[in-house]
Homo-oligomer: 460 residues x 2
């Protein structure tokens, strides 16, 4: 049983936040980080911040009482990042959703941490600019920075790592810092921006973000191409990238994923290993790219080309891709989908996917494989029954084997989902002594281990 929050802390926050501070079970359960293969872990209280000063006041109060703080955005993370391992106060930032500034000339903007990516892109609609990072879920930008999210467009535009210019962070000791100025590049001291991007809330609370924006491409076209086997699909993407063609998205779906997409969306894609591709550029360039990619794909046995030039068709295609995971989950009621997330050098991608598929054939549950193939990142979505110990054990074993093979290929245990609770051991296998350096940084910046404790590092 978790110790109760100190009464002084509770009354202090209740006075400061009024109705925006609560200990009701329903709200705590909403903030418990349930999902995937890890159990829900509700915080002891939830505070909804609306201003930077309120974040500071929560940090100061929790620092005084050495009480954990768990920053919370949209709760869409997948490795139990917001589970309250040691109790504490969940700091919900979703109401900090102001877009503070946008500059067309500088192609950047500053937003509060609770702004979601779709909110930002709706706001930008008439500017000719957009924010490209697209992890699928409508996460908050603060959460996406905290977990170093990426997604379907990363092969072209980079992920959060490449698109965060500067952060305002509240430290565990309630100090406000800004990690960088708004210049496009800087050689001014340690790169704190990149330190906080991907720190999963363990070093401080992201209050606002300055982000790079990109010019909306003049033309886009998408394509669906299917292949005899995984290796041919991967080789097509490798060759497309090597040819310097402006590939904006390169998504792989295995035959089972296509089958589910077809059934869920009443579509009729050929059931085979398939690439969903997208190209951005000037109309003539996109036109030429289409021809080049057709040639490359055809040489690898690519067939059943379907081009979607119109926005409506492209959107339908990407909706289908984004919903493939959900379609998979829905195909087995009662299962708790568990997504693996390794990322490997692309020269090792086909062998890693194929080996995973061999494991999956023998699994006691269904599964699909999806991949951000241009980055070398793929997800096996394991549809295990959480109440069946054999299935859970098999899922765990398969995940471990997928991770072990990725590490043997000099890849990473997590391409974009983060470490959270679920990948802490794998992180040690992956980076060995470097984890000791991470631990030293954590201890230096958060000496009382109050910032999202227990995430990333097994011990602080």
């Amino acid at each position: 049983m978790m110790e109760a929050l100190p009464i002084e802390l509770t009354s202090l926050l209740a006075t400061r936040f009024g109705e925006r501070f609560t200990t009701t079970q329903a709200v705590r359960d909403q903030h418990s980080g349930a999902g995937m293969h890890l159990p829900p872990l509700p915080p002891q209280a939830v505070a909804y911040a609306q201003t930077l000063e309120e974040i500071v006041s929560v940090a100061a109060a929790c620092c005084t009482f050495k009480t954990p703080i768990i920053p919370y955005g949209a709760g869409t993370s997948l490795e139990c990042h917001v589970g309250a391992l040691r109790g504490g106060v969940c700091l919900d930032l979703s109401r900090m959703n102001q877009i503070l500034r946008v500059s067309n000339d500088d192609q950047d903007c500053t937003v509060e941490a609770g702004v979601t990516r779709t909110q930002l892109n709706s706001y930008l609609r008439d500017t000719g600019l957009f924010f490209p990072v697209d992890p699928g879920a409508d996460a908050t930008l603060g959460g996406m920075a905290a977990t170093r999210a990426s997604g379907t467009t990363t092969v072209r535009y980079g992920g959060m790592r490449e698109n965060v210019v500067a952060l305002t962070v509240v430290t565990p000791e309630a100090q406000i810092i800004r990690t960088a100025r708004r210049a496009r590049k800087s050689a001014a001291g340690y790169d704190l921006t990149h330190l906080f991007v991907g720190a999963e809330g363990t070093l401080g609370i992201i209050a606002d973000l300055t982000l790079r924006l990109h010019p909306m491409p003049e033309a886009s076209s998408a394509a669906v191409v299917c292949f005899e086997d995984t290796a041919s699909a991967v080789a097509t993407v490798v060759e497309t990238i090597q040819a310097g063609l402006p590939i904006a998205r390169a998504e792989y779906l295995d035959a089972k994923a296509i089958d589910l997409v077809n059934r869920t969306f009443a579509l009729s894609y050929t059931v085979a290993d398939t690439l969903f591709l997208e190209f951005h550029g000037e109309p003539e360039e996109v036109e030429r790219t289409i021809r080049s990619v057709e040639t490359i794909a055809a040489a690898r046995g690519g067939r059943a080309f379907q081009w979607a030039i119109e926005a409506e068709h492209r959107n339908a295609l990407w909706r289908a891709r984004h919903q493939a995971g959900f379609a998979a989950a829905a195909s087995r009621p009662g299962c708790r989908p568990w997504s693996t997330d390794v990322c490997v050098p692309i020269s090792h991608l086909a062998e890693n996917i194929l080996a995973a598929k061999v494991d999956l054939v023998e699994a006691p549950f269904p599964s699909v494989v999806l991949g951000h193939i241009g980055d070398g990142n793929f997800h096996a979505i394991l549809l295990a029954d959480p109440d069946n110990a054999d299935e859970v054990a098999a899922a765990m074993r398969i995940n471990q084997r997928i991770v072990a093979r990725a590490l043997a290929s000099d890849g990473t245990c997590t391409g974009e989902h983060g470490v959270g609770v679920g990948k802490r051991e794998a992180l040690c296998e992956e980076l060995g002594g470097a984890v000791g350096v991470m631990r030293a940084i954590k201890r230096a910046l958060d000496p009382h281990d109050i910032m999202n404790p227990g995430k990333i590092l097994l011990s602080a």
Copy 2:
């Protein structure tokens, strides 16, 4: 007077390194970081490492005796990064110049820290790949990572920040760590790669680097365009970027720089504010880009277009650009050129350059202004006489004013040269409380302050 090195340390390193360990004055002077506005500060000894194990042995020995280590590449840094402020052992890595692996499929390579960028690009010549970061000097890649270097192609390909995938680092306590695996992206824990990139050797010694490579563009074309004023030149670049045109280089030279380039290289460019541009892509794309940029530039009064499609002409053009700084220095014998290095949001660039030029008109020494204009980064090269106290004081004052204005524009005191010794106060003005976080990291990772002490941070 600096205390002598401990005799035990000297004899230990002499035994281990033989002739590759020296205390001779000439070699120490070669490693003193002389240049720019800061005095030379020779180390007490120099060790030439040839292997990772030798780096570890120097780190272990210096750790035992709490003796400073100054990692050294080509010595081309500009803010006294390799000056031995507190004496110690200079660890020269220039002989660690093996290219360890290149992967065409993964478009990456791993090189020892002492490999220079031109060495790498010569090696890659037949692969269809190249390493784009080009700071002008033929620096070592380890040094370029340590100072977070960038340069003329950063607008298109990014700088070291964007192109380092992973590092092998020897820590101040002589441990070997690898900051990341070779995957294109990863969400595995704190981003140590970016922490060591730009740490200027104050947190550890970079032993090898895994770098992103890029496909050599099918076609390149360069152009020289001159303008009535700075604002028109800047606006042309802003609009080109906004149009999403694939601009690979966008360099600004003021009329005085053009005049010196003309005289030094027997060229005949119109003496005016000028852009040197380069575009990469497929031939048709480059062709179309040329037409679009001509239209944009013409609307801003751009004239005297000179296109250089052939490699030979382009190389001559970029040689002229790269030598502009040296040409400036040579134009006033006895001067010690001092390059400012601010970088601002591009919407503030023209006003910052113009204000700098107003200051420079009143300066008691000649100067030129150059800029990596697509990034918002410009250099005023102050040709002050180091023996004239008035000139030195004026140069200092002008640099401070340029920095103050950049900070007022939410820019940075250093776009690409780094902090070293010269920008330590400016860093505090720029980032305030965040410098305290940097100091906490430094203390945590280098508790005895032996790694390049006194750089970046005024006190550890």
